[in-house]
């Protein structure tokens, strides 16, 4: 990336060739991911793999499966947190929970759940609302490595101070430490929090809809996609939501720049919670 005769147009061609090769050879389709952040992560990998050009990286990735594994981990951003963006959970508690109370059974889909922090947060919220027994949560991600972590429900103990703060700002009024056991540097979350959660692999780019849901959360996942893939996923989420179902997006995402805007109304202004109305 810092070679003197750096040619950005050529680099984009090389990136396309690399992604094409990865999709055909390994079946992971990154061809419609957002270019700016993709480039950043490709450059990081080039540095780590000591590849001078994207073509040199392609050679390694295609011929060395171990290099592909590292590349896959480097390409997806898995950073997440419990009760990330507390205002969202507070709005969910005050505005969505009353809607859900009217349902005898509630199906929830977390698409792109990463290591699960968001899913456990939702389980806690639903438990405190007295709704958890009526819920079934489907938590999916394309990356099996993060899913196995999510299934364990063990998070770093050092994070608990931040998460407790988030939990309280999200309207939590219990003692957050009731939900985990501290063991060395780990916080092991209570296994019963997992009772209503099913973790499974699902790729939003290549797999279809698998159920009908009352709530779909897909937060901070589509920011890594380009417009084409984003529209594809919005269609998939729309088709997976029941009428009057609730869609939750990340704080910096909105339906504004998508063609599905007219099918939803905003439940709480600014909190990225939408209700399907047509």
């Amino acid at each position: 990336m810092n070679v003197p005769d750096y040619n950005p147009e050529l680099e984009e061609i090389e990136i396309q060739l690399l992604l094409e090769g990865v999709a055909q050879h390994y079946g992971y389709d990154f061809r419609n991911y957002a270019l700016a952040s993709l480039k950043r992560r490709i450059w990081n990998t080039m540095r780590a793999e000591q590849a001078k050009t994207v073509s040199a990286l392609q050679e390694k990735v295609l011929h060395q499966p171990a290099c592909m594994e590292r590349f896959l981990l480097a390409l997806t951003v898995n950073v997440t947190a419990m009760f990330r963006d507390p205002g969202f959970y507070l709005a969910f508690r005050t505005k969505v929970v009353p809607l859900l109370r009217t349902y005898p059974f509630i199906r929830i889909w977390h698409a792109g759940c990463s290591t699960g922090e968001e899913v456990y947060s939702m389980a806690i919220l639903l438990y405190e609302a007295g709704l958890y027994d009526r819920c079934r949560i489907y938590a999916t991600d394309m990356n099996t490595a993060v899913l196995s972590k999510a299934k364990e429900g063990i998070f770093p103990l050092v994070k608990m101070q931040e998460y407790t703060g988030n939990y309280l700002r999200a309207g939590g009024d219990q003692s957050f430490s009731n939900y985990y056991t501290a063991a060395y540097e780990h916080a092991i979350f209570r296994p019963w929090l997992r009772d209503r959660i099913t973790f499974s692999q699902h790729n939003l780019a290549t797999d279809g809809s698998f159920n009908e849901f009352n709530v779909v959360l897909c937060r901070n996942v589509m920011i890594y996609f380009n417009k084409t893939l984003q529209e594809h996923v919005h269609r998939l989420l729309y088709e997976s939501l029941s009428m009057f179902g609730v869609l939750g997006l990340g704080h910096a995402e909105s339906l504004k720049f998508t063609p599905h805007e007219q099918h939803y109304t905003e439940i709480v202004s600014g909190e990225r919670l939408y209700r399907r109305v047509s």
Binding site: P8, A34, A36, S37, R41, T80, G87, I223, A252, F257
Partner: protein, 193 residues
């Protein structure tokens, strides 16, 4: 020289510097600005609304895929990296870079790749070295680089780090930044009109 975008990085002391710059920018300033001000992950809309009170141009917190429009100022939202594609914004929750999310280097690096010589980068006051590598990259891609004179900065660490990282085109005191930007962007102006 014509510019399609101005990227600005500020940290400690940035609120006052940005207020001064936005207050001085004329309402017909056409080249859009993308701004990273280091901020706490929980901060709300306050930064935007405080800055908006000083500014004549409209200020937005950038959303994912938002088109970059002329005559507007875009702020990186709290707890996200702001990146630039050609003509629109992209966001990322990747871990902090230089202990910061949003990070100035991430914005500058992506903007340099997207706009090359049509990019103007500005580093303001701050107590970190964020932005230095990014500014060097803007320079390497043929873009124009501006740094606030450390003597006029509330905190001189960040401007000094930027000056040490590359041969900066213009080092000017805070009050001269807007006159300089106006002069540099004059031809972009005519093209835009």
């Amino acid at each position: 020289m014509t510019f399609d975008l101005i990227v600005v990085g500020a940290s400690l002391g940035g609120l006052h510097a940005l207020e001064a710059i936005f207050a001085a920018l004329p309402s017909d300033f056409i080249v859009p600005l993308a701004v990273v001000q280091h901020r706490h992950r929980d901060s709300d809309d306050t930064l935007r609304s405080v800055l908006q009170r000083a500014a004549r141009l409209p200020i937005y917190e950038a959303e994912d895929k938002q088109p970059i429009e002329p005559g507007a100022i875009y702020l990186a939202p709290a707890d996200y990296h702001l990146l630039v594609e050609r003509g629109s914004f992209a966001l990322s929750t990747e871990g902090p870079v230089n202990h910061a999310r949003p990070s100035i280097d991430v914005l500058f690096e992506s903007a340099a790749a997207a706009y090359e010589a049509r990019l103007l980068g500005v580093v303001l006051t701050g107590a970190s070295a964020d932005g230095a590598q990014g500014l060097a990259l803007i320079k390497a891609r043929g873009g124009c680089t501006v740094v606030q004179d450390p003597a006029s900065a509330e905190c001189r660490v960040m401007p000094e780090a930027a000056i040490a990282a590359t041969t900066v085109d213009h080092v000017v005191p805070l009050i001269e930044i807007v006159p300089l930007l106006t002069k540099l962007c004059q031809s972009s102006w005519k093209v835009g009109l």
